[in-house]
């Protein structure tokens, strides 16, 4: 549905995105995850034909974004970083205007309006001036604007920004519900958002893609249980059984290890600390405890590692400079 090929964009000397490629299948939700200034907004603006890329191209629903921008625009609903609203209009007036310029046939405008108002929970404010709405409601109007013409593709730049926690959950549910009929790209800085909503995650940092992963793989990396890495001197089938018998242990998986030691990953329920019992068992049975440490290689860490590893020396330099 969406195929992005080697997209690059420079603002003068600033490289905003560099050689970005990915694909999204029909009905999928893809999260674009990255820290500030990573190039998320830039990529989305290129995909929505708001501005051209320096090089590379992309096709949306089979149409090239440079050769047939009108066909692409007709099929896209776009929620920009700051919702494009006219504060002097009422919600309804605004949505009708958007429906018209998106080329919705006259007969489809009222049903489209009703649908969008209902989906985004705008019923109560539909006759109010947009300028008088709270930030969260404006964000919803922005979302309603993106889906009023029932586009094949939705591009949402930080759709949950500025919402309260309950609304965030509602909007996420809404976005999930839209997948299937719509192909969605959304951007976020918030990792749980990406994993909660999306099948596919693209992690981007300073204009480059650093990881592309499916949701299944991500979930396995995300911490769903407490994991403890355990290394002991003497381990055999019997000791494995004994470790499994410790209260709270869900699963024990043997790991590749060095010659004179055995390594296990011990999983327990989230929030349950079994280290005390575990160490007691290990010591009492004379297994020779070498190391026991909690494993928290969550996606958060992967994300942080991937997106910050090259920045570390800079900040260190900074501190050195400050000290001298």
């Amino acid at each position: 549905m969406i195929a992005v090929k080697q997209l690059s964009k420079r603002y003068g000397p600033v490289v905003a995105i560099d050689d970005v490629s990915f694909t999204v299948d029909k009905g999928e939700i893809l999260a674009f995850l990255g820290p500030n200034g990573a190039g998320k907004t830039t990529t989305m603006r290129i995909l929505t034909c708001f501005m051209p890329a320096t090089s590379g191209t992309a096709t949306i629903a089979g149409f090239d974004i440079f050769e047939e921008p009108m066909a692409v625009k007709r099929r896209i609903g776009y929620l920009p970083e700051s919702p494009p609203l006219y504060p002097e209009m009422t919600v309804e007036e605004y949505l009708v205007f958007v429906a018209k310029i998106k080329g919705l046939p006259r007969a489809a405008i009222q049903p489209g309006l009703k649908g969008a108002i209902e989906k985004c929970g705008l019923g109560e404010v539909s006759r109010r001036l947009i300028g008088n709405l709270s930030k969260g409601y404006r964000q919803r109007v922005g979302l309603a604007q993106a889906l009023i013409h029932n586009p094949d593709v939705l591009i949402l730049d930080e759709p949950t920004v500025g919402l309260d926690p309950r609304q965030i959950i509602e909007i996420r549910e809404l976005i999930k519900g839209l997948a299937g009929d719509h192909t969605i790209i959304l951007s976020t800085h918030i990792l749980p958002e990406a994993t909660a909503v999306c099948q596919k995650v693209v992690i981007i940092s300073r204009g480059r893609i650093v990881a592309v992963d499916s949701q299944e793989k991500l979930s396995s990396r995300v911490r769903k249980s407490e994991k403890i890495s355990l290394r002991i001197r003497r381990g055999d089938a019997a000791s494995l059984e004994k470790i499994k018998a410790v209260a709270g242990v869900l699963q024990v998986s043997p790991q590749a290890s060095e010659e004179d030691e055995v390594a296990y990953i011990v999983e327990s329920n989230l929030g349950q600390d079994i280290r005390e019992h575990l160490s007691k068992t290990v010591v009492e049975h004379g297994m020779g405890l070498l190391e026991m440490k909690p494993l928290v290689l969550s996606l958060e860490e992967v994300f942080l590692q991937l997106t910050t590893e090259e920045k570390m020396p800079e900040s260190q330099q900074q501190t050195v400079k400050d000290a001298s």
Partner: protein, 257 residues
């Protein structure tokens, strides 16, 4: 076509719910009524003296010369001062409120956006001119007036407004600050206006001639006197198209930044 009507409709909607258009209309009508009144009072004093000598009414042509020509001249200058207020919002506000992102990612062309705004502004301006028609109508009750030069004057004012609005639109596309947009528009319009005055002093040289040709006031003068020349028609229409073209180029090039 439907897109164009939608865009015109949206701009008109925004005009009528904001106070700017009303303030502009009120200032324009109040000032032109006042200036008109001054002219009429002047001529009536004059004619009462005439009447004693000639025992006759003031001829139509003199009414036009003495009342309408100065009134329309004044009116055009008032318009120069207030029309930038009608256009300053048009693009600047779209940029500032980020609504340009909506327009530019919708299946409508930049030409439609530019013309939508221009036609909406022209309609508001047309309404302004229609409202000012009460001046000749009132005068026609008390004295005979010749309508032909009045209509040519209105045609001239209308075409001149096209230049004002298209240049104002261009100015608005350059910035996201409405005040700056209005100031730039004033600059362009005053430059075009006084070009003729300074050009007239240096009229032997080629530059002087060009300056005279570019001067809005010189071309309007003909219309006000009841002369419709193709030269002036061409001037107004091509200056209007120039403003729109420049505006189009700016909006278009904005994407490439």
């Amino acid at each position: 076509m439907r897109n164009l009507f939608t865009l015109i409709g949206k701009e008109l909607h925004l005009y009528f719910i904001s106070p700017v258009a009303y303030v502009v209309a009120m200032v324009f009508l109040a000032v032109s009524d006042f200036l008109f009144y001054l002219q009429v009072r002047g001529i009536s004093e004059l004619s009462s003296r005439h009447m004693m000598q000639m025992q006759g009414e003031v001829p139509q042509l003199i009414v036009h010369e003495a009342i309408f020509i100065p009134t329309f001249r004044n009116m055009s200058f008032v318009l120069l001062l207030i029309m930038p207020l009608l256009t300053m919002r048009l693009f600047a506000e779209e940029k500032k409120g980020r609504t340009s992102e909506l327009l530019m990612t919708s299946p409508i062309s930049i030409t439609q956006i530019v013309f939508g705004k221009f036609f909406a502004a022209m309609l508001v301006y047309l309404l302004l001119l229609i409202l000012s028609l009460h001046l000749p109508l009132v005068l026609s009750i008390v004295t005979e007036i010749s309508w032909a030069p009045i209509f040519s004057s209105y045609l001239g004012l209308f075409l001149m407004g096209g230049v004002f609005l298209s240049m104002g639109l261009f100015a608005s596309s350059l910035t996201e600050n409405q005040i700056i947009a209005a100031v730039i528009a004033f600059g362009i319009l005053i430059g075009l206006w006084i070009g003729g005055v300074s050009g007239a002093n240096a009229s032997e040289s080629g530059i002087g001639e060009i300056a005279v040709y570019l001067s809005i006031s010189k071309h309007l003068e003909g219309f006000i006197k009841g002369l419709i020349s193709t030269r002036s028609l061409t001037y107004f229409i091509s200056m209007t198209l120039l403003g729109l073209f420049l505006c189009y180029r700016v909006v278009e090039s904005e994407r490439w930044k």
